[in-house]
């Protein structure tokens, strides 16, 4: 199990590094897919099968494809020119190291940090429990509904921006 986790961690970190260092934007997007797939593998190792599959469906199936489309349709030159680093790279590295250090300190104080993840008791319906939690009032129904309204608002906004009443109807 530890070996699997280490392999996954190396895959995630190495492909995340390649995302930011790759000069070719489509390659960067494909490395991002590899990194996101690694995160899905982490979820699978934590027995969070729903999260693992949704990670692949949403991030690889929708968001990464959207990235690739955007890069291909908006750029004439796929390869990035100019220097790979700008003058803020030191500060960015510092901030990311501090974030990592802070998270590591916080998590090492948590009691569950060094324990292996427990298996579900037999017959436990994890997906059903998650679904119930999403719609029950004493759990996550409010954040869930707020997120839904936000998504609908974003959808309506996107349609409004894209809709041009003068050229929209091609039947006339």
């Amino acid at each position: 199990m530890t070996i699997l986790f280490l392999i996954t961690a190396v895959v995630i970190l190495a492909s995340a590094m390649m995302v930011v260092t790759s000069r070719n934007l489509v390659h960067a997007a494909l490395w991002l897919v590899a990194s996101l797939f690694g995160v899905a593998m982490l979820y699978a190792q934590l027995n969070a099968s729903f999260m693992a599959v949704v990670q692949v469906v949403v991030y690889i199936g929708a968001i990464a494809i959207l990235f690739i489309f955007a890069v291909m349709l908006t750029r004439r030159e796929i390869r990035d020119k100019g220097p790979g680093l700008n003058k803020n790279w030191g500060i960015a590295a510092l901030v990311s190291l501090l974030t990592f250090g802070g998270l590591a300190v916080l998590l090492s104080n948590w009691s569950g940090f060094s324990q292996p993840s427990a298996d579900f008791p037999s017959g436990f319906d994890a997906v059903g429990a998650l679904g119930n939690a999403l719609v029950s009032p004493d759990a996550f129904v409010l954040p869930f509904e707020v997120a839904s309204i936000l998504l609908v608002a974003a959808l309506v906004g996107a349609v409004y921006i894209a809709y041009n009443p003068r050229s929209g109807d091609n039947r006339k």
Partner: protein
């Protein structure tokens, strides 16, 4: 344990005993046994894939009033093996300017995205790779990897036609994913689980095609669109984008795309059979043994594959704007309505008998279909009147 009652478990136990007898540790032996199981399953699927080439050629020949391959061996059965050998010994040409790693990875991912689907297909109650509790979402996730492989192939080929074909195909796949997901939710609602084994078991009394024929139809249409087959084969066209995203592939690299497409059609036929036509249930015949049940599933998959071929070789292709409008303005709203009605009826009629539920579900589907046909008739009438009415005086618009 009797071999015929549980062939996979008996074989695995025998292999475990063999490997541990050779002095391996328990963990290593179990990993090796499971790896062997995966290799055997993939090999069986790829051998079936070779025969699918023969089936496809024979069936299309019959649809077109021809005989099909009939020279090599009985019924031309040696023909697909000759095809495979030809593909293997052909030169693999790598065009100039391709992105080598991505270019070579794309056909592998394409086949891989289909083969991993067979991990969750329940061939029998005891013959299933893994009974995931999110089985149907896994099907969608595998489709996402297939989409990725197509865009990788189109982009890395360094060819405008390949890129255009990939764009068209991916646009269709992303759009038709939505009605497919909604149609997949209907067996989930009816069975109360997303696991493939649970859905198969829940259909012991009544196949879901009788409870929700519209969902079966929507799933079939969106599966054909996901496959990129006629009438949704916009990524191919001799006079516009040639062969679409795999135009620059030759030899076995093209062969993998071809094999992946055929196996994908067969697999979707299998899913159609499992989700809506009872899986391994066939009038109690599945009780004869797991191998009979597996044969039933494969038979239903072949029937589904035949229906997909029937559609492919009967219909003409549709225009790309019609294809997208058909999805977003027709299939998505229809699937959402069917889902809502099914969920509502399922909650209301939970305590009644199977027959009451089946009849009311079926009648609700018929009602929805009738309303949809009436709306479509009204729409087509207004469209026709607009076209047939005498030309409006356009002079008024000028001043």
């Amino acid at each position: 344990m009797n071999f015929w009652a549980n062939p996979i478990q008996v074989t695995a136990d025998w292999l475990m005993g063999l490997f541990t007898g050779w002095g391996m540790t328990e963990v290593l032996a179990s990993i090796l046994t499971q790896l062997l199981g995966i290799v055997v399953m993939i090999t069986i699927m790829l051998v079936i894939d070779i025969l699918l080439v023969w089936i496809e050629r024979k069936v299309v020949a019959r649809f077109q009033d021809r005989l099909g391959p009939n020279r090599g061996g009985p019924f031309g059965l040696i023909q697909p093996f000759a095809d495979i050998i030809k593909l293997f010994i052909k030169e693999n040409i790598t065009p100039a300017g391709v992105d080598k790693v991505v270019y070579n990875l794309a056909p592998i991912l394409s086949v891989f995205s289909v083969l991993i689907l067979w991990a969750i297909i329940p061939l029998a109650p005891v013959i299933i790779g893994v009974d995931l509790n999110v089985g149907l979402l896994y099907l969608v996730a595998a489709g996402a990897i297939g989409t990725l492989s197509i865009i990788m192939a189109g982009w890395s080929s360094n060819n405008k036609f390949a890129l255009l074909g990939a764009f068209r195909q991916v646009a269709a796949m992303i759009s038709y994913e939505i009605p497919m997901v909604v149609a997949l939710l209907i067996p989930t609602v009816l069975a109360g689980t997303m696991g493939m084994l649970g859905i198969s078991e829940a259909q012991q009394g009544m196949w879901y095609v009788f409870l929700s024929p519209l969902a079966a139809l929507i799933f079939l249409i969106s599966a054909v669109a996901e496959l990129g087959r006629t009438p949704f084969d916009l990524s191919e066209g001799e006079s516009e984008v040639v062969a679409g995203f795999h135009i620059e592939y030759s030899g076995m690299k093209f062969g993998w795309f071809y094999a992946g497409e055929l196996l994908h059609a067969f697999t979707f036929g299998g899913f159609w059979g499992i989700l809506f036509f009872g899986g391994y249930h066939f009038f109690g015949l599945e009780n004869l043994g797991p191998l009979v049940a597996a044969a039933i599933v494969l038979f239903k998959a072949l029937i589904g594959y035949w229906v997909i071929m029937w559609i492919k070789y009967t219909l003409m292709r549709i225009r790309i704007d019609h294809m997208l409008a058909f999805n977003w303005k027709f299939l998505v709203p229809l699937s959402l309505v069917v889902l809502m009605v099914t969920a509502l009826l399922n909650t209301l009629l939970r305590d009644t008998s199977t027959w009451v539920m089946a009849v009311s579900m079926f009648l609700s589907n018929v009602l929805i279909a009738w309303v949809v046909i009436e709306i479509l008739r009204g729409r087509s009438r207004t469209e026709r009147e607009k076209v047939e009415s005498p030309a409006q005086p356009v002079v008024e618009a000028t001043h």
